[in-house]
Symmetry: D2
Subunit: 439 residues, 4 copies
């Protein structure tokens, strides 16, 4: 069980709800609403290991939510210790206060773990970007080789997007970390005039900001966090897709090393991108989970009927899915084998045609851009039709060689010399994301 | 055609792409890469009304994108004016540079219109919150009356969420407003060493920040904007659902006035919530559109194959859907008829049972909380079983009347006296959202 | 743990995969490819209780799928028994053969349980339809009372849709129940010429049809099943929404009885529709799960990278969600309390206006349809403006009373006499769905 | 504008609704409810070209649906011709009857066009399957070469899935083709006892079955059609993904020929898979649209509030998206260039390792399966480590050559001899799908 799976395990969930009950009792004791001894008794009882979590989860089914059987069980437990105190359990609160605030506490534990793995992924991407800022490889658009780029530029694009997603996740988490405390309908009426006093003490005890108004019926903060998780999966999915494509048997410019000792003896050449597949699976699953969180938003009046309940499974699942993707992306990028010789070989695959734009640009100052286009076009067609290399086709065309001598032609055909501002882009990204790649 | 529909009309789209071509040419002239006269000629030609937009859209189908036929047409047009200049059209750029940056320009026009209508909605919600901060109505959870709230508190919840969604939308828009300019594969190689110079001039001309690296293959900024739009639809959907439920024939605590003169003569009593239905339709549609934007994110290498193309229809549609919801929400809240007498009547519907918690709280100091619960429970059951009012059932129970005299009982049964900190919550929200409700 | 949860538990999953391994071995022994003794040894070992399921699941993570560690463990276990036989474990198969066919076996167990609960729901709906074929209640459109219907007609609509969804589910399940057996790339090459022979024996042993060609890379059968589950959740969601709305405190035409003994002592009047909320939660979750199954379809070549892996969690979750909804819908409809007196009261709520169409129809033969409309419109406005009943407003209008005397007017205002062909519709549905409501 | 776009154009939509109004009038005239002359006048007026469609669409916004302003305009038009007749316009119907049945008529026109293009795609796939039943190419799993398959087998998989999707679409369309006619709340009360008579005449006139009960509030038939469209996009997406991957610069086993004359002069080697990108875009968009249709299903009581309205845009968009994909898939498969020499080259890329399973199977009869595995594993490692071909590594291993002489080894290394039952699978698919590939 991973850390994030643990953060959403049933017993953790129960513990977080008990933490909220305990904080409520202590806040009310501080405010003079319940006896300090009751708060002590309630706090003592608020330990998940003292509860039959499985039974509580089972009872939640018919009760309609987890807080109802938990509060009953807590009341019994407190009562065993101090019958007097048991009447103060859950005082002034409603189920949703406990469930929502408990969830917030779980998210506070879980999401930073995702961010931590994203940081690991970003660091690895930064290393690739730095090392390979000038390593040429084919840029590919429409799955076709286009013009040369560097592997560092590709990695810098990953890094830049990972840094943005870390920032979005942290910001969305900050937005979601707030106390939910409103009582039956959100007025705190059962606490009379003390509602805000208790709220602010509870917030302090749980180290959670108190929002202007209870948010039970407005789920946008959670939905926004879900969206940030979804975007994060999308960004990781893009990286995983790149890596999976680069690792194809026919390309192998990068290889995801096997996690398993061994591999298949009947297919010894295979390098199954297992981590990339996990990330891509997450990128396929996340949009539907985000969509469910958004669909759940129009909740009825002061408590939703269906929408709230849908969130209970969807949001934890989305965090788990994103966490799995983040771990896999980090592992993937940290261990990725970069095969510069394969990149070089790929650059030769079109026999020079990938450099056609470069040749146009080299010719243009001599003959004008449109003539340059025409000449290069003619040579390219000859190369394709006659099955000769582009270099040979160019060298055979006197209208071209008139402007570009052998040396100039060779230069124009050199991928390493046609990388534009790739290195500057890499440097800019490294500078801009510096704070996101250090632990 | 609404303003937002106009912002995404085909001719606007073409104009924005032409704006990008013109800025590119001017930036390159400033950088000394192309002649100033060419930039002038290109700028002169970059007027959508000079193009056969329908034909260009039709050609885009087989070409694969809109930029290819548009650049051809622009080149022809420039050539008619200045053959010399036509060779500099689109110099150093790729289709995606033009399409993506053009889209950014459209978003810059369209999203603030959505925010403007959200501001209108927020202002109207603020007015309701202020006016009805102390107007009691039933709070409802699970579609059941729970305890009293105020209509102002409900409106404050709407306002608070609207303010957050405005902020998110503005922030996501700011994040998305950046230049895309990378050339064929994102290296700007065809501009040699001048890539960054041209980029920064283009950014200045279009008043768009230049990001650390081109973002053609990383779509998270657009996806994040899509998410903010989706959350916005969810928040508006929640408001619309509340209003639709409050307007039911059996409740009518609020009424959405008919937009049409007239209404149905065969069903004269109907108050069809037409605006609310539009908002709810948007809240149903948006999650699937957001989900498509997220699913489109894992784009292959330096240009996506399917993902990028999917965005072309999905994101504009999502902005349109959100805009329609925002206009309808603003209209709905501005014109909403609030019927306090119906709220009062609803509060009487349970014959006092809605005040049971209040009576428990009044009794508890006298008999302890658990005894109080037991006594109130007994009276409530009597009321339900015997069909008498809760007030009568309480008054008949000497264990209750021993602690609470007629006056105290009447107080405990008065909804207007059991509103907790509703008014403070309203005040907090009004203070916190002040900047979001002024034009 | 429910039956469906059990059908998708990890140990069941392992058992089903072992069933496939055992069938494979027996089929190959029958075909003379492996020794009968090996098939016996493999069959003996293929008992989930003999495996450390937790360890296998953990190993699946790095291996990339569950079959790899399971086959290893099975081979070890067979080897302990008969080293000779162990070399024939998994002979000629690939992981996907075992995982996909295992999943099919799980679906064959689980989906009929869903259908069984849908049948229970349909039967309950049929009972309501039959009993209340002539019980008038308000029809409601746009959440506004429109014209009278009967509760039986509403229940017949539910029944009709439930019957369709049962049929779709059964048909989609039938479509999905087929053997997957193709070997490494779908050619069964490792079985030489015996591939089809082994396939058809395996199909016979597992009682699964053998498709024309292995379906490893084509997931439409599973996606179609997912869709049928999604539509089923939508239909149940519609029923649950109706019931939740009818059960509102202000309406209470039906009541979902509390599953819990007790209920809330502080809010004794509440009738929380717990089952309806579960169904609505399912209706909110299912679309995103269906969407993920569809997004997973474009799987690469002979085995997907991400898409296949996404299905592993999504489809079982969708079956579980639908099963939970089906159980809740059946429980809900079986126990639903129908309060005809509340329906009657609701019909009176507009003080007769709900009968305006009826009065138009009664007047039309006398004065023509458009005059009838005008007269009724005038009376309705008077009723609304002056706060008198519609009956009184009609009776005060001599142009109306000229055509309709007191008796005719009273008839035209009687909801029970303006139900059209409701009863025939109910009878048609009961006849058409007869086979779907019997166990 | 394509045929399907035309089928969903605003004026077509209006015409279909007018067709329903005309059929309603004629049915009522046949039933003796309205004068034959009125039916004639209404029929005469029911021509879209006589209406200001733009104005009607604009009015629909505030009216809440398209039928309200259309019926007003139709009434005016009939009135100009025959004032007497105008009172019978829309007699007994409600807006939803006209809108839903009009939509059904549009679907009846549009979906068969999609099926027709799917048939074209299936025919092309069948041709490839037949021609290339024995053309070897690498099978690929996890984007890694696995073992050989034939291109015909791949095409047969496409064909098989296309045939299933045609069948599903036709079946879902048949299910959706039914009359909606229920009046204000679904009872047909305004037609007294004649409701079923008029219904069945209307159904006959429109050539639409009459369901057991009106379906206004139950949208599963449309949702099921949406699902079939979604699955269809998934199947086409799978084909397009295969083709896009096969067409990569480094693979080019198939090429999608350029639709445009020309192509890029600066990147003359590119073969942008424009059609595949359109199909993949559809496969990305469709899941979100399906999800919206499912989310729209839980519609309130006798007419939805938001859900119904969401369908108006979503379902036509989904048909258009699927139609675009179907046309592109058909074009793609019809024109696909198959490069068997590239397939042959790909099969050589691993220097024989792709045949490792074949060698194991050849060795196993001699040395037992597990020894065979060990020997092949050793040779494969030597090949990978020493950079020699697999053939050489095998030939150097005396434990292998003891069992397999040069001829036997060469046979075991021949892809064309290790295709299993590929050809039989192809033949089975061709036989099973025969009816789906003929016009």
């Amino acid at each position: 069980m991973t850390e994030v799976e643990r953060a959403f395990a049933e017993d953790t969930r129960v513990q977080k709800m008990l933490d909220v009950e305990a904080a409520l009792a202590r806040a009310e004791a501080q405010a003079g609403i319940i006896p300090a001894s009751a708060a002590d008794a309630i706090s003592r009882a608020s330990r998940a290991e003292r509860f039959d979590v499985t039974a509580i989860v089972a009872d939640a089914h018919s009760a309609g939510n987890l807080a109802i059987p938990l509060v009953k069980a807590l009341t019994r437990l407190v009562s065993d210790d101090s019958p007097e105190s048991s009447r103060y359990v859950h005082w002034g609160a409603t189920s949703q206060d406990i469930i929502d605030t408990g969830l917030v506490l779980q998210l506070r534990d879980a999401v930073p773990i995702v961010v931590r793995d994203l940081r690991r992924a970003a660091s690895a991407a930064a290393t690739h970007a730095r090392l390979h800022a000038r390593t040429p490889m084919p840029g590919r658009t429409w799955l076709q080789q286009a013009t040369p780029i560097t592997f560092g530029l590709k990695a810098a694009g990953w890094l830049d997007a990972l840094a943005r997603t870390m920032e979005s996740l942290e910001s969305a988490l900050t937005g979601a970390l707030c106390l939910q405390f409103g009582g039956a309908s959100g007025t705190l009426a059962s606490l009379g005039a003390d509602g805000l006093n208790v709220s602010s003490r509870m917030g302090a005890l749980l180290n959670l900001p108190v929002p202007a108004v209870p948010w039970h019926a407005h789920r946008d903060r959670l939905a926004t966090l879900a969206c940030a998780l979804g975007v994060s999966c999308g960004t990781m999915g893009k990286i995983a897709r790149d890596v999976a494509l680069l690792g194809q048997t026919e390309i192998q410019e990068t290889i995801e090393p096997s996690a398993d000792a061994g591999g298949s003896s009947t297919m010894p050449h295979k390098r199954n991108p297992v981590r990339a597949s996990r990330v891509l699976a997450a990128a396929i699953r996340a949009p539907g989970l985000v969509s469910a969180m958004l669909s759940a938003m129009p909740q009825e009046h002061e408590r939703g009927l269906g929408g709230w309940q849908a969130e209970w499974d969807v949001l934890p699942e989305l965090v788990r899915v994103t966490a799995s993707a983040a771990t896999s992306t980090a592992d993937l990028l940290e261990r990725l084998i970069v095969r510069t010789e394969a990149m070089e070989r790929s650059l030769q695959m079109t026999q020079g045609l990938i450099m056609a734009e470069s040749v146009v640009m080299a010719l243009a100052p001599h003959v004008g851009k449109s003539t340059a286009h025409g000449l290069v076009d003619r040579a390219a067609r000859r190369a394709l039709d006659d099955g000769v290399s582009f270099a040979d086709a160019l060298a055979l065309d006197q209208e071209i060689t008139r402007s570009l001598g052998p040396g100039a032609l060779a230069d124009a055909l050199e991928p390493a010399d046609y990388l534009g501002v790739s290195a500057q882009f890499v440097a800019r990204v490294l500078a801009a994301t510096d704070s996101k790649t250090k632990a």
